[in-house]
């Protein structure tokens, strides 16, 4: 009897193992799809003949880039490979936390990673990145000094990071569903998301918030008229009270699920990131399901965020990484990326090259008035961070 039992457990164990393998296969599946190593790249020494003195390169003609998913133009990598003969191994992630855990463990093998600036400050403190060699980045001058000034708040003297793209945190909504339920909805204001009597009207069509206290708390602080970088437990308690008052109307907290759900009508009002809401808008248009999606930055002011390129200290191909960064710093390269993904870039020289409909869309490129009210994230102390996460768990689980 026990023998047969053991066989049963053994079979189950084997099945479990098989299932485990299946799971991990799935998890790593997106990577090869995004990789471009398969594309026919030029042989190592194929730098265009007659080019000026070739910039420094590493022995191996490879650069390993780890970037956000859906965040690059179709031909960006192919053109770089054709021009330099350096193979780009492009891998993607979808959360800062996962990237950070990898970086903290060390030996990632990546030459360029693209964390958000609000995470970078702590990562610089942990000694993860190497300082950039400005001499190898002649296109550095293209960058918008105003934005570099803000980034210096995360990275003193702009030593370690170069902006990839940036954007805002704001409100995405389903135009028809909002109008139908509340013709005089306070569009353009945070009232849309923080006033319980407004939210009550939209509960039935689905309200979602980003699952990120670092996005929700500063905007709530701004709505309450408190300093957005506040690290005081009293202010946090006020934010908690505000969020608990709207908690009954919120369907879920998630940082990417809302893209699909907004597009197919599962939710109608979200706190989301500008570019992601535009992806939802485009998906709804493609699906022709009649959902019209729009986005605004509340006039009270909102967060601006930056995703930035950095080179890990243990990067095996630091010289190639510099070449790739300098390539992205070219106005025409980053303008093409903006045209493809609808996020603004921090490259002043690139703005005239961006398609007019994107450049003049104030929900993408905020006008001077809106820009004045945008503010960056601050870096919390570890103690305050713990308090923040704990508060966030309480809000999410409604306890």
């Amino acid at each position: 009897m026990t023998g047969s039992l053991r066989t049963g457990i053994l079979i189950a164990g084997l099945v479990l193992l098989l299932a485990g393998c299946g799971g991990s296969d799935e998890a790593s599946a997106p990577a090869p799809a995004e990789e471009t190593t398969q594309t026919d790249s030029a042989p190592p020494a194929a730098a265009p003949a007659g080019a000026p003195v070739a910039p420094a390169t590493d022995g191996e003609q490879v650069v390993n880039v780890y970037n956000w998913s859906d965040y690059i133009a179709e031909d960006t990598i192919a053109n770089f490979e054709k021009e330099t003969g350096i193979k780009v191994r492009y891998d993607v992630f979808d959360s800062n936390e996962v990237l950070e855990a990898k970086l903290l463990a060390g030996n990632t093998g990546y030459d360029i990673v693209v964390p958000s600036a609000s995470f970078v400050a702590r990562q610089i403190q942990a000694g993860i990145f190497q300082p950039l060699d400005r001499g190898k980045l002649p296109n550095y001058q293209n960058l918008d000094p105003e934005i570099m000034q803000i980034l210096a708040g995360y990275d003193p003297e702009n030593k370690h990071i170069i902006p990839w793209l940036w954007g805002t945190t704001g409100i995405g909504y389903n135009v028809a569903k909002i109008k139908e339920r509340m013709p005089d909805a306070p569009l353009g204001s945070w009232d849309m998301l923080f006033k319980p009597e407004v939210l009550a009207k939209f509960k039935d069509c689905g309200i979602a918030l980003l699952d990120a206290p670092s996005e929700v708390f500063p905007t709530a602080l701004r709505y309450l008229g408190l300093p957005t970088g506040s690290q005081s437990p009293e202010d946090l308690a006020k934010v908690e009270a505000l969020l608990m008052s709207i908690r009954p109307f919120i369907k879920y907290f998630h940082s990417s699920q809302y893209i699909n759900d907004l597009a197919n009508g599962e939710v109608c009002l979200v706190l989301g990131w500008s570019g992601d809401v535009f992806i939802a808008r485009d998906r709804a248009e493609e699906a022709k399901n009649g959902n019209e999606i729009a986005y605004f930055v509340p006039r009270e002011g909102s967060l601006m965020w930056f995703d930035t390129m950095a080179i890990p200290k243990d990067a095996p191909h630091a010289d190639n990484a510099h070449r790739f960064i300098d390539y992205v710093l070219r106005a025409e390269v980053v303008a093409a990326i903006t045209n493809y993904v609808n996020f603004p870039n921090a490259n002043a020289a690139a703005t005239p090259l961006v398609n007019e409909d994107i450049r003049t869309d104030t929900s993408i490129y905020p006008d001077a008035e809106t820009k004045k009210n945008l503010f960056p994230n601050v870096v919390n102390t570890p103690t305050f961070d713990r308090l923040v996460t704990r508060t966030w768990t309480r809000i999410k689980t409604n306890q």
């Binding site: 039992l5 457990i9 479990l16 768990t393």
Partner: protein, 332 residues
């Protein structure tokens, strides 16, 4: 073993060396080492060594690393925790153990609430699996022998598709705009979609669906090997089928019930993927709490302490299960 005592120095010496060698061999550590060596060098020993090496490499060592981190301090560094052993000046080696991480778990209600909730969800999932799985395993075990392997194959077949993909498929089924709601609305059974996604109900569906085969397989193994003449004897003596099931089949299948129950209960306890994909925000399970500690708070030491505490919980449950099994075996 006696040949070991002989040394090629003549009879006299060889004889006197033998008791000495015997004495040395009897010292426990030497005996163990020799036993191990004997096992390893024999072919059978090599075969047995493979799972031990596997367990040591992929279970024991990772476990010790996690245990080590659970006693460290959180730092802003790479890696983000302090080292336990310090080589200070003047040859002092200091060992610093921070038990604060475990105390922290005890202080904050969040953790025990999450543990309790996980135990509850895992327990009821296992119970539902048992209720669904037992009749299935029973039917399989009593089916024509030619059919049994086909039915067994059908139970295992879903594993050919990735686990993650199958959980994702449930999103498409349970959504407000999903297959189930659309079908019910088209049939006119309901006019408002039933909210199923992001509720505890969806988590139960996901766990029961994913782990049901782990319940069926051990149950099938015990039921299939059962001696059917016992039931014939019961019938001959005038016992009704249902009573025969209760007094013969059910007690005899208890080892399978216990094994299946723990095979569902234990992985469901630490489940992260299913509650994350299907669960709502109020589904507070320990897997998610651990994720938050590790990724959002970067508190690797606390996350490790959460993991060790969960492992201890599983060990307690497993030894209880072991005790049940032995009692069931003794009862027979």
């Amino acid at each position: 073993m006696s040949r070991l005592g002989y040394l090629p120095l003549g009879d006299h010496l060889a004889v006197s060396a033998e008791p000495m060698v015997r004495a040395i061999v009897r010292i426990p550590p030497v005996r163990w080492a020799l036993n191990l060596l004997g096992h390893v060098t024999s072919g059978r020993g090599l075969v047995i060594a493979v799972p031990y090496v596997w367990l040591a490499l992929f279970f024991l060592i990772p476990f010790l690393i996690v245990l080590k981190i659970s006693f460290a301090d959180q730092l802003i560094a790479q890696p983000p925790y302090s080292s336990l052993v310090d080589f200070a000046e003047q040859g002092y080696v200091t060992l610093k153990l921070n038990v604060g991480n475990y105390l922290f778990l005890a202080e904050d209600a969040l953790y025990w609430k999450a543990y309790l909730r996980s135990v509850q969800i895992a327990f009821f999932s296992a119970l539902i699996c048992l209720v669904i799985g037992y009749p299935m395993a029973y039917a399989m075990a009593r089916a024509e022998p030619t059919w049994r392997s086909v039915l067994l194959m059908l139970v295992v077949l879903p594993f050919w598709t990735s686990f993650l993909l199958r959980v994702y498929a449930w999103i498409g089924l349970l959504n407000n705009n999903g297959v189930i709601n659309n079908a019910l609305m088209a049939l006119g059974v309901i006019d408002q979609p039933i909210v199923m996604m992001r509720t505890n109900f969806a988590v139960y569906v996901g766990i029961v669906y994913s782990y049901l085969p782990f319940m069926i397989l051990p149950l099938y193994a015990t039921l299939e090997k059962m001696d059917l003449t016992l039931l014939e004897a019961a019938e001959d003596l005038g016992c009704r089928p249902f009573k025969a099931f209760l007094t013969i089949t059910l007690p005899l299948s208890m080892p399978g019930v216990i094994a299946g129950f723990s095979l569902v209960f234990i992985p469901a306890l630490g489940e992260f993927v299913i509650p994350d994909l299907l669960g709502g925000t109020e589904t507070l399970m320990i897997g998610k709490v651990l994720w938050d500690e590790f990724f959002s708070n970067r508190a690797w030491p606390i996350a490790s302490a959460v993991a060790i505490a969960m492992l201890s919980l599983v060990l307690v449950i497993m030894s209880f299960q072991h005790w049940l099994e032995r009692r069931a075996a003794a009862a027979r």
